[in-house]
Each structure stands twice: as C-alpha cells, then as structure tokens.
C-alpha cells in the first residue's frame, strides 16, 4: 500500500491468461489471483482498481470466481464493492452474478 493511499492498479491482461484478452476458466482465475497477490490486497486498506483491457471480449463467471471468490468471502459483498473497482465496466453483469453466487454460500445441491 502506497503512503499516499493511491489506488493500487492491477492490469488484468498482465495477470490473466498470457497472450489473450479472453478470460475463461476457474483455474485461470485462481492463477490470476495468485499473480496479482490478492490474498495480501484483501487485507490492505486502500482501493484496488482492476484494469480490464478495452478490447477484451469476455470474462466468464468461472474466471471471476476463481479470481475473486475468496476476496468476497473475506470482505463480504459490500466490502468487496468498496475495495475493488473494475474499469472500464465491461463485465458488470458477470461481476454482479459472481457476487450473488458467493453470497448464496451454497453447499450441496438437491
């Protein structure tokens, strides 16, 4: 965390899947989480800006889950929304769905 409380920026293209701006797969999301050091950032104080490449075609809910499920669990949905900002807001639907999925906190099926 910088002394000036500047937001920390994470370039999704740099931590995502090398050479593509399509973000798919739970494991790929989990790998991106590790590269971005989100376990540490979840416990920081400042805001984190996730920079989505402007030409990015898609992000699947599985990728979002792999990357942010644990953060939402740690911070709660409101805390997550305060800490993490996504720019530009290409994938708001996927992000909202992902937060809702974690919120449900399901175990088991039928």
């Amino acid at each position: 965390m910088s002394a000036t409380n500047e937001p920390i920026e994470i370039d999704l293209a740099a931590v995502g899947i090398q050479g593509t701006t399509i973000f798919v797969g739970y494991q790929n999301g989990a790998n991106a989480r590790e590269r971005a050091g989100l376990d540490l950032l979840d416990h920081g104080a400042g805001q984190v800006v996730i920079r989505i490449p402007p030409d990015s075609l898609t992000m699947t809910s599985s990728f979002f889950m792999g990357m942010f499920e644990r953060s939402i669990g740690v911070l709660g949905p409101e805390g997550f929304a305060r800490r993490y900002r996504f720019e530009p807001r290409h994938f708001d639907d996927v992000i909202a769905q992902g937060i809702a999925d974690v919120e449900r906190g399901l175990v088991g099926a039928l």
Binding site: V24, G98, V102, G105
Partner: protein, 385 residues
Amino acid sequence: MEEEPGPLDPALVGAAYLRRYALRAGIAGDTVPATIVYPRVYSFLEDPDAALDVSAGIVARVLGGAKDLPLDQRACAEAGLCAEALSAALVRKAQEDGVQARRLRPDAGACAEFVDACALANWGEGEPGEAGCVVDLLRTSQYFRSDRGAADATEAVMDRLRYTRGQRLEASFAQRLGGVLGEALDNALTYGDGDCWIASAIRRPPGSRFDEMEIVMFNFGPPLHRTLLGMAEGAPQKPDLETLLARHRDEGRFTPAWTPEELLTRHALQDGVSCVGGRSTRGAGSRTIIGFFDRLHAECAPERPPRMAIVSGRVYVCFDGTYRLRPTTSPTRNRRFDIPFNPEEDFGLPADPRSIRRLRNAFPGTLIALRFALQDAYLQSEEHA
C-alpha cells in the same frame, strides 16, 4: 449401467480413432453399409437418432475396410450444422487412412448450398461457390496448451462469428455469446479429454428476414451421467446424488424410458451441481448456457424461435422454451435456479419425455447444438463499428 470403454485418445489416427468411437457408441459393425443414406432431416435439433444412424454408418463402413465412403444426400431436404459437423469430424478421421468420401448431393436449393459449404469447409471436398453461408469446424486439441485452450478456442470461434456478412455482433451480445462459449469450452476441456470439436455457421434460411447462427460443440469424453457417477467417495455432493437415485428407485419411477442415465443427466444440468462438489461457486456452467438460451428465447422473433439440444450418451435433452430455469422453491437449494423439465417442477418425478428422452443410438460423449436468429438488436453495421 454397464462399463464403458476408456476415453477416446485424441492422438489416435484414422480407423484406430473410429474403432474407439464405435466401442464407446456401441456400434456393432456387423453390417457394412454399401452407401450411407442421409435422412430427409439431418439434424440433432430435429431427429437425433437419424443423425446418429449416419455417423454409425460412416464408422461401420470405414471399420469394414472400405476405402471409399459413398454419402447419399439426395433425399436430404434440411441439414443442421450440428449433424454436418459430426459427420465431418468422422470423415476427416477416415481421410487420415486414405478413405475417399464421395457425395451424391441434394437437389439444388438452400439445403444443397449449405451441405456443399460444409463439405468444402470441413473436409475439403468440392469447389468454392456462392454458398451464401459461413461455416467452420475447429478442433480444440489443435489449440490445447495447458491453461489457454478454452481461451484460444473461444477467440478463434468468436473471430469467425464477430465480423461476417457485412455486419458485426453488437458488443454486449458478443460478450454474452463469448461468455457462453468460453464457459462451455472450459467445461468440455476440464471434464472431457481435452479434445473438443466446435463448429459455427451463419446463413439466411429461405424466407427469413434474419440470418441464423448455429453453433455446435462436442467431445468424446465421459457422458454427463458418467461424470457424476465418477464423483469421488466422500465428495460433498455424493450423498445428494445417492439420495436422488434411491428416491426414484424406491418410488418406482424408473422405466425403460426413464433410467438412472436420464435422471443423472437432468441432475448434471442443475445450477450448482458439480462433480468437483460442494463449493458454492462451482456448477455454474450449465446455468450460464441454459440462461443464455432462455434469454434468446425471450428476445426472439416469434416466427424464428431458437432451439438447443444436448446429447449425452443415450440421453437427449431438448430446449424449446417449454421449460426454463426458475429460482428454486427448495429451502435446501438456497436461491439456486432449477429446471426439472416437468410441469410439476418436481425433481422427484421424471422429466417430460418431450424434453428429455432416451435415444435408440448412443453418442459417445456430449454434444451441444444451438440455433438462433441474429435479430437486429444483436448486430451493428460496419459503418457504426
């Protein structure tokens, strides 16, 4: 449920690949057809058993030692990309052993143009012409490199679908479509054997004011019910599975048309069900795909409703808008989405046989086929791009 032969190794070539396909599909191969005759309607969306008869014929003839493959398409009046893509995949494998395909093409017309375009694009037969459609067949094993197979394959397909026929997909629709493809391909590569075939086409049906997009993907990994049965002992969702099977068995629900395979396939399609088990965020892939279809259906022009089908082993699941994902009413499902495929919306009952039914033939893996009209809202013209 009987034992199933091992996975279909993507590295197998020619007849060896088709032999394994035959074993997994239960194709006896005791009769070698002189000609493979196409049905009048050749599509998994309309007549899956007839489509599987064609693939069984192709495989039986090649395994019988024939060096030519006469495909009689003359009676075919309607062909879907889904069926064309499967036969193209099998013909490609046969060609690896020097087998020559020979087509007796349909009479002139839209079906002939489409079948010609498929043959040209997918197995190099015929001459380029004014087919009026875009069609392609890719195999993900050519893209498969550990972590990026699904991303690369999604990008390759979307590159073909995004800009076509003077228009391109509207950005938010392209995101939705790319998300569904990415999710489906990731599932296929994660839970299959890394070998997934995917084809896409855009064409203008006769008399329609819209182009239609067709997408099909299939793998030759374990069918859905096998994937669930393979769940490890002690997996968090294993007890749910056993309870469900016991309930249908104890209540006498199983019949020749509603077997554990149909039950487990329906179960595999429910939101949150995953062979990985337990985690709150797994098992969202089928919800993404079915939710995408439901929205297409809600937005469609009434004269061209979308269709989707899933074929997995001997189980056929038809999506035509009759049943939709709905928020669960079960307290133990905690705000999940359900689609029991019956009017009672009851997982204790069999599905409506018009939506889930047992096939005469088996598909040795899982196939998803989707067809929908590209209405104006899904497109933007190049001048506005």
